[in-house]
Structures are given as C-alpha cells and as structure tokens.
C-alpha cells in the first residue's frame, strides 16, 4: 500500500455519488410540507412599480402567499446589512425592498404555492404596471461618462503606470494600436441557483443552498433578517458548477429564507434557466491597446486602457490592465481602468475575472506588434520575457513560463509555422496557427480545518469550503491521507456546512492552496499527537521514542531507523485508551514571503484554426495548453479543470455573448438555445501539459491552483490564429463569420455590448 497520494491521478472520491445520483444538490433536499416558490422578474429596466395586482393570482388553488415590496417588512434597511464578503463598493441591491426598478429582470416578487407548476402559473396572472424612465445600457456610447474605478473590492489594486509611454509611442517607428470589445457573458453553470430553506420551531433556519461560500450566505442572511449567526445554518455539499456566479449570495436564497420565516414552512426556490441571466455577469468591456517596439523586437512602450460596465448602485471592479505591466520587460507603461455606470445588474466575477478580458486585447496586440517588426510571435515573447514582476520589482517564487513555451511549441509543432498570413491552406480552408500566454495569481487565504481520528482508525477531516466540481473532495482526501500515511479509503473529507471550521470563498484559484494547507496543518497536529501517544505506549517497540525518531506510512507509526518496529494507528489508540483524536487548526499565507516575492501561475496556449475562405466559418482544430502551476496535486482533476477552461476559451473566442437590446435595456438571448456555448462538435483535439515547477515559497504544499489559468490565453491564441489564417484581425469577441468576412455592420445606436 502506497500512501504518497498527492501528485497521483486519483479518481474522484465523490465520483460514484455523482454518477449514481446520490450526491444531493440544493434543490434535492426534501422536507415535509415543502412549498415551492417562483420568482417574478421585472420586464422593464428602469423606473418604478406603480402597481402589482396579485388578486387574480392569489385565487389560484394551491397558492399560499405572494411576496412583493408592498407586503414585506421587518427587513434590515441599512444598505450595509446587505453587503457580503465579495461586495464591490456601493449599495448592494435589496430584493423586495422598494418599488424602484434598477435593471431588467430584477426580482420583484415571489409566488409561493404547493407545487412549482402552480406557482409558475399564478405568477403569469400577476399584473405589474410600471412608470418607465429613460434607460442607459449601451457601453460603447457612454465611454465619455467613465469614472476611475474605486478601491474597495477584495483583491482590487489600482494599476500603476511607469515611464512615459505616450512620448515614446509618438516617436516610435514600429507601433500598433487597436480597440477591442467584448459583450457581457453569463456563467450558466449546469445547476440553476436553488435554495431549500427549512424553518425550525426554535426560530432557526437551515438553508440548503447553491453557493461558493456557505459562510458568506450565513453572514448575508443573518444581517438581513436580524438572526444571530448560530441560528442560520447553511449547507452546500455539492455545487453543479459556479464559475464565480455563486461567490455572492444570489437572490433566491433571500426569497426562500423570507418565505420560510414568514410562513414557518419549508420552502424551495429554484431559478429557471432564463433567470440565470438576471444577475451578475462578466462585464462588457471596451479596451484600447497601443504598443511600440524597436527594430530588435524590444517593447519600448505599452498603453492599455479598459472601460468596464457596472451597475448604477455598485462599482464592480476587476483587475484588467494591471497584468499588462507585469508580463513583459518594458520601461514605459501607461495603464488606465475606468467604469461606466449603466442600468444593468452589478457584474460578478466570472472565471479568471479581468485577466481573461485583459489577455484577449493585450495578447492580440503583442501578436500584432510582433508582426509589425516581422518577428515570430513566440520569439517576440521570449525577447521581452520578464524574469521578475515588473510592477512590484520582486522575483517570482517560480515562473516556468519558458518551459510552457518550449514544451507547448514542441507538442504543437510551432517550428513548422510559416509566418506570413494566408500562407497555409487546404483547399478553400485557410489554416492559421496562433499563440498567447497568460498569468494568474497564486494566492493563499486563511482557512480552518478540523480532523477527527476515531478508534477504528478512520479519519474525518472537515472544512467549510465548497466543491464546485473542481475535485476539492478528492484532493483534500489525498492531502490528509498522505500527511498521515493512511489508506485513502480510511479518510473522509467533508465540506459545505457552516457548522464546520470556516474556509474562504471558493474562488480565485486559491482553494487548493488555502484549504489544502489547513488540512495538511491539522493532520500534522494529529500526527504529532499520535507520536506522543506512541511514545507513551508501554512495552511496545515505540515506547519512549522521541517524535523526531518516528514517521508514518501505510497506516502505521514506525521508527525511521527501524521500520520493522511499528504499531498501527489503531494499536496506538487502543494501547493508550484513546477514544479519538480531535484537532482543529488554521493555516494562512506567510506574510514574510509576500514582501520578497510575487506569486503567479502561467500558461502558454497554441491554437490551430481552419477558416473557410469564402464563408468565414472558423473551426478550432487543435489546442495545446501548457501550464506552470507548481506541484499538481491530482493530474486527473487538474487536467479536467484545464480541459474545461480550454473548451470555455473556445466558446468565448467564437460563440459567447449575451446580447443587449438597448431599446429595452434587456438581454435578449436569455436561454441556452440562443446563448451559444461550445457543443461537442466544436471541440477537437486538446492537449494539456503540466510543466515541472518547483516552488518552496508559495505555500507549504508548493501548489498554485488551476481554476483560472487554463482559460486566460485561449481566446487571444484563437484570435491570433484567425489573423494568421486570414490576415484579418478581428478585435471583437466572439469571432463570428460576419466579422471574419468583414461584412458586419456596426450599428451602435441599436445593440452592442
């Protein structure tokens, strides 16, 4: 039996639960007398509700109650009571608080009935009359109203300029500039947002919720409803995808809690797929990039400005342009990031927020400047390679991006590329090869965990994190089993419950490092306790042994000097009459390391496209994604995350866009038939490479997290491949056939972004 599990492609420990349907999601928890809620959303984008006529709906048999702003009271009225751990600066949206409509599809009511179907039917009978006001939803037409992004959202840092990019650019011989646009995108995890709220006699409420942070939901609900934290339990053992949409509490948890508390009955509220387009999204963004280089291909100036949309009531910020100051050596960098307030829902973090937006524009521009100086785009990146963080002036704890370049290029066959656009073809299919690279933060947050070793030799470790499909259950089990030298089948990891030790929100690619370090720390405590106990055993091979003389493997504690002298975990506990060992602990980032080093993961993506010369259709035939992210805890689950990222990157490059009708201020393709994401037939060969990257500084596990890094450079790699194939640089995403053929007519007065 081998117990060195980390680094091994272990199967998902929750795999059989998932494929057999045993794993329970938020909408699958049952309760006696369960009621069902159906949310009503506004049909206008801005104005006031004049009247909500619920009389007809209330008469439908099976309708129990209809909640609107007119009959809900007792809620917190301070804006700040609605803040959650991921709130940007501003005043959070307060559901059912007043008659104001701030964005289209804003939730304005809840019908509660004995079945979902009755609630939905009754909702169709509710008549809402509005007083409409003039609305503004067009980002491109309102760039002149932009304002500097304020500080305040967790993790947001203002961009820092250096040198004098404008003067250098003005005088430069080789230079390029361009404007890049992408519209809003919606997360659309497979599982719709859902809450089953159970009211208990003693005034407590248990919320089975789809969330990326049970503690955040607990805080939010207790503040709004004036409940003490101990009276709000949030449970979320499985999440059917989040991608950031579950970082902030969504409005269905408010609705379900409200109804359960008011009616003193269990209530379930599930959003429809259409309603999945009624809250935060990746903000539509306009970017301008200008660059200059000398004749040797050295970057002499970089200018990158970005204008992101936000709501009228909160300033959603993400780190877009900052990346452009770190990626390459360049003395003159001018960065600007501003927000435009529109009558839309507040945007929300969506996989690799900011970085994926940035890379699309910036890495396309790098390709363009490389072409301006007639240097292979990969070679150009090597010429300007930044060994150190160019903004902070600190070395990276590790940066194996060169290895990503080399191994990715070798696998892809990049050396066989002819540099001229339109130089490779098969019949009427133009072939293009493009590449790009990206970076993401390797963060660690404070996290707590608990470990319980029972007399039967079984270990249960818990932490209140969440499993959004990334493999958290599996890697935590691997870490715990390896730390204690136990069989993986004797270890159970539990998560997603506010009764468990607190963990940070599941986002930012930091869960493996944060919760993983806490799990390792708490298991080390258990191990120390076991060594102490082993030493206390009488008349055993380990009697009196000092902790430093002992080690653990294969379920046993033994002398390092004499592996034959050993006791099993069960024997140690029996001999010392120990019923159980319970340890709690916490782990956090090393503040000293942060002052000396920067921490990033990196990736290089290579893509091949075939573009029909006459019809403009683009097919991505091959992608190679090479990732440097420290030690890979589980190549199978990590590989799945990168594969999913690449698939999503292909979607983003070619298909995804939530289209806004600016006459109505309403997203129009709010279903999965018309909001296109990649289907099987869009996906061809994808190769994933994890390059070796040793890192002692980043955290005790030497890991960097892989949730975000895979997607960042995919869209620009594809855009660059399309340029190589066609000679046309499509700067707007998604890259559709009309844009490739340059047939698209811009009509900014109507609809875009």
């Amino acid at each position: 039996m081998k117990t060195n599990y980390t680094g091994q492609p272990a199967n998902r420990v929750d795999g059989s639960l998932k494929v057999t349907g045993t794993a329970k999601y938020a909408a699958e928890f049952e309760a006696e007398g369960l009621l069902f809620g159906y949310i009503i959303n506004s049909t206008i984008a801005k104005g006031k509700i004049k009247e909500i006529d619920i009389s007809q709906a209330m008469q439908v048999a099976g309708v129990v109650q209809i909640f609107t702003h007119e009959n809900v009271s007792g809620l917190a009225w301070f804006n700040k009571s609605y803040k959650d751990m991921d709130s940007p600066p501003g005043d959070p949206f307060r559901p059912l608080y007043d008659h104001k409509i701030r964005y289209s599809m804003q939730p304005i009511g809840l019908v509660v009935a004995t079945t979902f179907e009755v609630a939905r039917f009754a909702a169709s009978l509710i008549k809402v009359t509005y007083k409409e006001e003039k609305l503004v939803t067009n980002l491109q037409d309102n760039l002149h109203r932009s304002k500097k992004a304020p500080m305040g959202k967790v993790g947001y840092v203002q961009p820092k300029s250096r040198g004098d990019a404008e003067s250098v650019f003005a005088k430069a011989e080789y230079k390029i500039e361009g404007e890049y646009v992408h519209a809003a995108e919606h997360h659309n995890p497979l599982e719709m947002f859902a809450t089953t709220a159970i009211w208990e006699e003693d005034g407590k409420v248990t919320l089975y919720d789809k969330t990326q942070g049970v503690s955040n939901v607990q805080l939010y609900i207790s503040n709004i409803f004036g409940l003490s934290l101990k009276n709000v339990r949030v449970v979320s053992p499985f999440v059917g995808g989040g991608f950031g949409s579950g970082l902030r509490p969504q409005y269905q948890v408010f609705m379900a809690t409200l109804a359960a508390l008011e009616l003193r009955r269990p209530v379930r509220v599930v959003m429809t797929r259409q309603q999945m387009f009624s809250f935060g999204h990746r903000p539509g963004t306009v970017q301008r990039v200008a660059m200059s280089a000398d004749e040797n291909g050295k970057l002499t100036s970089i200018q990158h400005e970005a204008y992101g949309e936000t709501s009228q009531f909160e300033d959603y910020t993400e780190i877009v342009v900052n990346w452009s100051g770190t990626m390459y050596n360049c003395e003159n960098v001018k960065l600007k990031y501003e927000l435009v307030k529109l009558d839309v829902a507040t945007p929300t973090d969506m996989r690799a927020p900011g970085a994926v937006t940035s890379a699309h524009a910036f890495e396309s521009a790098i390709d363009e400047i490389a072409y301006a100086v007639k240097i292979d785009p990969l070679e150009f990146r090597k010429i300007n390679y930044a060994e150190d963080d160019q903004v902070e002036g600190k070395p990276y704890s590790s940066k194996e991006l060169r290895a990503c370049y080399d191994q990715g290029a070798a696998k892809f066959g990049w050396s066989g590329r002819s540099i001229e656009p339109r130089s490779m073809r098969e019949g009427n299919q133009l072939i293009g090869w493009g590449m790009a690279n990206g970076a993401w933060d390797a963060l660690q947050m404070p996290a707590k965990a608990q470990a319980v070793l029972s007399l039967d030799g079984k270990l249960t470790v818990s932490s209140g994190t969440s499993e959004i499909g990334t493999g958290t259950y599996t890697i935590m089990t691997q870490i715990a089993a390896e730390t204690l030298g136990m069989d993986i089948n004797d270890v159970t990891f539990k998560l997603g419950d506010t009764l468990m030790p607190m963990a940070p929100l599941q986002g930012g690619s930091w869960t493996a490092a944060s919760v993983g370090s806490a799990v390792k720390a708490v298991c080390e405590e258990v191990k120390a306790k076991l060594f102490k106990l082993a030493s206390k055993t009488k008349h055993s091979p380990l009697s009196g042994a000092a902790p430093k003389e002992l080690t653990m493997a294969e379920g046993h504690i033994f002398l390092i000097s004499d592996p034959g002298s050993r006791l099993s975990i069960i024997e140690v506990m029996r001999l010392t009459e120990t019923d159980s060992i319970i340890e709690s602990g916490m782990s956090g980032p090393d503040p000293a390391a942060k002052t000396t080093h920067s921490f990033n993961s990196h990736a290089a993506v290579f893509a091949e496209v075939k573009v029909d010369e006459d019809l403009g259709t683009v097919i991505v035939t091959r992608v190679v994604c090479a990732v440097a992210a420290g030690k890979i805890l589980n190549p199978k689950t990590a590989g799945s995350q990168i594969l999913g990222s690449v698939v999503w990157g292909i979607s983003k490059a070619l298909e995804e866009e939530t289209v806004m009708d600016n006459n109505f201020g309403r997203f129009m393709n709010h279903n999965l038939g018309e909001y296109h994401v990649a289907v099987n037939k869009d996906i061809n060969d994808i190769d994933i490479i994890f390059v070796e990257e040793h890192d002692d500084l980043v955290n005790p596990l030497g890991i960097k997290g892989v949730g975000e890094i895979g997607i960042i450079a995919v869209a620009p790699a594809i855009a660059n491949a399309v340029f190589h194939a066609t000679g046309v640089r499509v700067r707007d995403l998604p890259i559709t056939m009309d844009k490739v053929l340059q047939l698209a007519e811009e009509d900014k007065n109507q609809v875009r972004v």
Binding site: T43, F121, K610, T617, F664, G673, L743, A744
Partner: protein
C-alpha cells in the same frame, strides 16, 4: 403554463373534430416546440389533442414511385430511412443538420413544418411582437436582428422560419397532405408557409383543425448532385444564419434542372423559380452560380445586424451549387475534417 384539457385521438377524423371543437385547441405530437412555448406562456391552448396514436407513422413508396412520409414519423427515422437516404439524400442531410439527436428523435415530420420562429422577441413576453400579439409592434426591426430575415419581410415582422427540413422539402417540390373539417386536400410546399405581410401571427395556410397526415416527395427527383449547406454560429445545435438546399440535374456540364431553396433568410423557405429558369440550359460555372445568386438576392433588405446575410447568402448559394455539382454530400462542418 395554463391548465389545459387533453384527449388522445384514435383516428384522424376524430382528431380533427376534437381540435375543431375549441377555438384554441391544438394538436400535439412530439411537443418539442409546443411544450417550450406553453411553459413560457407564449402558447396557451385550452385543449390538446394528442395525435401520437394515429396511424401516420409510416414511410411508403407511392404507386407513382414517389415517397410518402407519414406525419408522425420522427425526423430521425426519416433521415435514416433507406429510401430517403438513397433517393432523397438532400432531405436526409437537411434533417441531420438541424437540432440535436435528442430533438430529432422526438420531433415529427408534421410538427417540423409547424415549428415557430426563434425570434428573441417572440420568445420574450416583456417585448412587443406582432407575431405573438398582433398589433403590438415589431421589436426586432429596430432591435437586435442578427438572426432575422432579409427576404420577403414586412413592416410588421422580420422573423424567419427555423426549419432545415422544410428547406429541403421546398427544394424537392414536396406536397403536404391535410385532413380538415371539409375533407382532404393537398398543398404544394411552396404554398404551405406564408410571408408575414400584415398577418405575421399566421405562419402557414392551414385552417384551424387542419391535420397534416403526410408529406409526399415526387418520384425520381434530384437523387444525385445535391448539397445542403448550413451556416451557423456553432457546429451543431444552432439555427441557420443562412442555409441552402441545392439540387442540380446535369447533362455533361449543362444544367438540365436546378432547384435552390434558402433557409434562415425569410418567413418561409425561399425559392426563386424565375432565377432557376434562367440557369437552366447554361453550363455550370462559378460565374453563372454567382449571377444566379445575385438574382435570388436582388430583393434582399438588411436591418443592420443582419445585413451581412445578403452577401453571405450569395456565397452560400455558390458554394452549395458547387458542392452539388461535385456531389459533395456533406454539411460544412465536416469539410475541415475532409
């Protein structure tokens, strides 16, 4: 979804009578479109007449050697039927270019012709739509109209018909057999669907209570030299921006007969017989195909986001005819892997 009553009909005449009894009753077969529309409160029938048990589920060779497709045969079973594959490959290709395997397994031939438009505004009760609620206005004309029509539009509606199968049926000169209150009749496929005009709420020329019983294909009609080309924003499970069903009858390099129908560009599958007449007797050349395409699109009008479709449709016609000439029986997405 509204409450509705339900009756399972045993015979076509009974089914017709059952629907005719109530002004807002509807037939239901595969339900792949109707149920979605009911859940969204766009269709609100008070009564459904289930026709799935009717004896309309066969594909049979007619005495004149044509082929009769039962109204209840699924799209999948039709596409993979041996007679269809061999003698009407254009129809097989078109069906397989549409929807997804799951939908094709449920959707029926009769129902396919009756599917409603995919116009965003038609599907969203928050926005005016003349097709959904006559007289409220067309939101698409000044809205997001990338997927909308460029041919045969009216001031009241620029929606398209979303079917792929119907585009092939149009090109193949199919006929629709109908049983109604006044007995049986046959409608040429070209006369089956309507242009929007000032009655955009009407998609076709069926009367209330008319039941499609089968669709007939003429004998020995474009067995070779056909191609269905579908251009869309992803490789599967997306409606056509432009699709072309192209069929040629060649003698040497001379075009004896030609039929070209377009999808994704109008309220009905679009065909220009005058243009076809001009092409007959000519040699097959790229220039001739382009000239034909220019003629077909000569009356096209764009509305901003969809203006690109005019040039795209011309290119698609040229490509589809070229593919048909070479007998490249494939849809575009497979070309890259060829």
């Amino acid at each position: 979804m509204n409450s509705f009553s339900y009756h399972r009909a045993a015979h076509p005449v009974e089914a017709v009578k059952d629907v005719n009894n109530q002004s807002d009753a509807k037939f239901v077969a595969g339900g792949t479109n109707l149920f979605d529309l009911m859940k969204l409160n766009i269709e609100k029938p008070s009564h459904l007449t289930d026709i799935n048990r009717l004896d309309l589920g066969k594909i049979e060779v007619l005495p004149n050697n044509g082929l009769r497709l039962g109204a209840l045969v699924t799209n999948a079973a039709t596409a993979w039927n041996k007679d269809v594959e061999e003698n009407y490959p254009l129809l097989s290709q078109a069906i397989l270019a549409g929807a997804s395997p799951q939908l094709r397994n449920m959707a029926t031939n009769g129902g396919n012709t009756l599917q409603r438009t995919r116009c965003y505004y038609f599907y969203d009760l928050a926005t005016p739509c003349n097709k959904r609620e006559p007289g409220t206005g067309c939101s698409a004309i000044n809205g997001f109209n990338r997927i909308h029509a460029i041919l045969g539009t009216s001031e009241t509606c620029i929606a398209t018909h979303p079917s792929d199968m119907c585009v092939a049926l149009m090109a193949l000169d199919a006929k629709v057999n109908v049983t109604g209150v006044n007995g049986e009749r046959t409608i040429d496929f070209a006369d089956f669907h309507r242009l929007p005009g000032d009655t955009p709420h009407l998609d076709n020329h069926l009367e209330h209570g008319d039941l499609i019983t089968s669709i007939d294909l003429p004998a020995d009609h474009f067995k070779t030299n056909v191609a269905y080309l579908k251009l869309r924003d992803r490789q599967s499970y997306a409606f056509a921006l432009v699709s072309v069903a192209a069929a040629l009858k060649m003698e040497g390099n001379v075009i004896q007969d030609v039929s070209v129908a377009l999808g994704g560009v109008a309220h009905k599958p679009w065909r220009d017989r005058q243009a076809e007449e001009q092409l007959k007797g000519q040699s097959a050349t790229a220039a001739g195909f382009r000239e034909f395409a220019e003629t077909v699109l000569s009356g096209a009008r764009g509305f901003g986001h969809n203006t690109f479709k005019i040039e795209l449709a011309k290119r698609a016609i040229v490509r589809a005819l070229t593919m048909a000439l070479k007998n490249e029986s494939t849809i575009l997405s497979d070309l890259s892997k060829a």
